[in-house]
Amino acid sequence: MDLMIYVLDTLVFMGIFALLSLSLNVEYGFTGLGNFGKVAFFMAGAYTYAITSSFGWPFYLCLILAGLVASVLGALVSLPALRLREDYLAIVTLSFGEILRIFVKAEQWLAGGVWGIAVPSAFANMDFTPRMQTWASVVLVWVILIAVFVFLYLLMNSPYGRVLRGIREDDVAVQVLGKSYVLYKVQALMVGSAIAGVAGGLFAQYIRFIDPYMFLPLVTFTVWVMLILGGPANPWGAVVGAVIVEFFNRGSRILKDHLALPFDPHNVQYALFGLLIIFLLLYRPHGLFREKPLKTGAEAEVAKWQSSS
């Protein structure tokens, strides 16, 4: 018994899901794209990592490839749907998630099909104790999380981020103001998918074995719960949402040991999450954290102007 390992394990999952939540934040929170197939890009990243690392390539290269492959898939999926209505994008991404899982399952030559595929740990050669191994994963995941967080913070507080937010509000108006919204939407989906792909790579690296049953639509739903709860278009919200939901997930397992309930709280949690989402959308659609105005330096000019006039 080593409680520390469990805490670290929780931290790893929090970090991975925070990445997913951030990636959805790029697409939905900032750009207003409803990606209901998040799990597909997570899965694409995980499998890319698994396959490339089986060639003996170093883990950072595999992670980059995981992001790239997911990102290309994101672009491909978006093309037929982006010029059309947003509900079509939702249906297409949702279906894509299901199809990709069938594909991986059916094509055994690719990555073991239903057998799944074992993934070497990134720290296999380092002679770590289990606790250190988990520590190493925590550091890896959270360093990447912080890097992605900073990257997105900078990107979203730039004229580029302003265009994305504009597209969320009214894509035709953005087009009239000279920016091709299709291009931006594809880019947003590519960035979002790349982050989800990296998260998938980290997941594969940490869990060391993946098979198609791990990538059910439930994952997508969980990520949406995290983002809506935390607050869309606020990077802190995305991370905090992931932390809370993962905490609840773990907590409900442990709660069961201490409370005698007629049902398994771990299984009921998804129904509860569903109710939570409905209540949030009805009474608090901006979640725990509100969107913050852009910080590009332009707002500083206003103060000067307002005080002088």
Partner: protein
């Protein structure tokens, strides 16, 4: 010298012919008015020029360059700007951001430069902010610069919508009823500003129902009815033409002469 040439545009929705061989020209450095009763196809024509609607037939050229079939953002690139009749603002963004989003050739709007040319776009951002504040001062919205656009009143929204077109630094602006929904004094102030821009060489094509204001500022007027251009001339020629009255007979009670 015509800067914009619209030649024989037709468009029908379902069975309804909204535009029927509509043609007009805008001379460089002028304010050209587009008038006509409700439902005569003015707004549809303006949308078609800007690529928001695909015409069934006809061509549009701008500075001798064919722009029919181009997407709105490509038409923006050649130097046109557009302002909607009903404001389509970014309601959760600040008033300032609404203007800055319209800026032309902003380095930071592309993915790579947003990340790697930070210095450059931040400098540009400061300059653009000053320009935006000048426009806001003109529109009387300086005190609201950092408020979300969604908090503006109807009239203020309309002003911001026009402000965005000004922010775009275009060669020519298409405006759909700039004076609608704002008080007459402000309406005139807007037109005065447009007039000073005209002096600096900008061209305008403006749909307007408030004829009393338009006629004071316009260099040339086109009148549409039932999807075709029925009359054109200087403001003086147009109001003296009997067709003008004939077309507006049913409209006199309406917006045409409201002031």
């Amino acid at each position: 010298m015509a800067i914009l040439v619209v030649n024989g545009i037709s468009k029908s929705f379902g069975g309804l012919q909204v535009l029927n061989q509509a043609s007009l020209e805008v001379a460089e450095g002028t304010i050209t008015g587009l008038v006509g009763p409700n439902g005569s196809g003015k707004t549809t024509l303006l949308h078609t020029i800007f690529g928001l609607i695909k015409p069934d037939a006809g061509t549009v050229s701008f500075r001798n360059q064919l722009i029919t079939g181009l997407k709105p953002h490509q038409i923006y690139e050649v130097g046109l700007a557009f302002s909607f009749q009903l404001p389509r603002l970014f309601f959760q963004l600040t008033v300032l951001d609404n203007l800055l989003l319209a800026a032309r050739n902003h380095i930071g709007t592309s993915f790579a430069s947003a990340l790697f040319l930070r210095r450059r776009w931040r400098r540009q951002e400061t300059e653009l902010a000053q320009k935006a504040m000048q426009i806001l001062e003109l529109l009387g919205l300086v005190h609201l610069a950092l408020h979300p656009a969604g908090e503006l009143s109807g009239g203020q929204r309309k002003l911001l919508e026009i402000g965005r077109a000004l922010m775009a630094d275009p060669v020519m602006i298409l405006l759909d009823e700039p004076a609608a929904g704002v008080n007459p004094v402000l309406g005139r102030r807007i037109y005065q500003k447009l007039y000073t821009l005209r002096e600096q060489g900008l061209s305008f094509l403006i749909i307007e129902h408030k004829l009393d204001i338009l006629l004071d500022f316009a260099d040339y007027i086109y009148m549409m009815d039932a999807g075709r251009v029925v009359l054109s001339g200087t403001p003086k020629e147009v109001i003296e033409n009997p067709v003008f009255y004939a077309t507006y007979v049913g409209e006199t009670q309406n917006a045409a002469f409201r002031s």
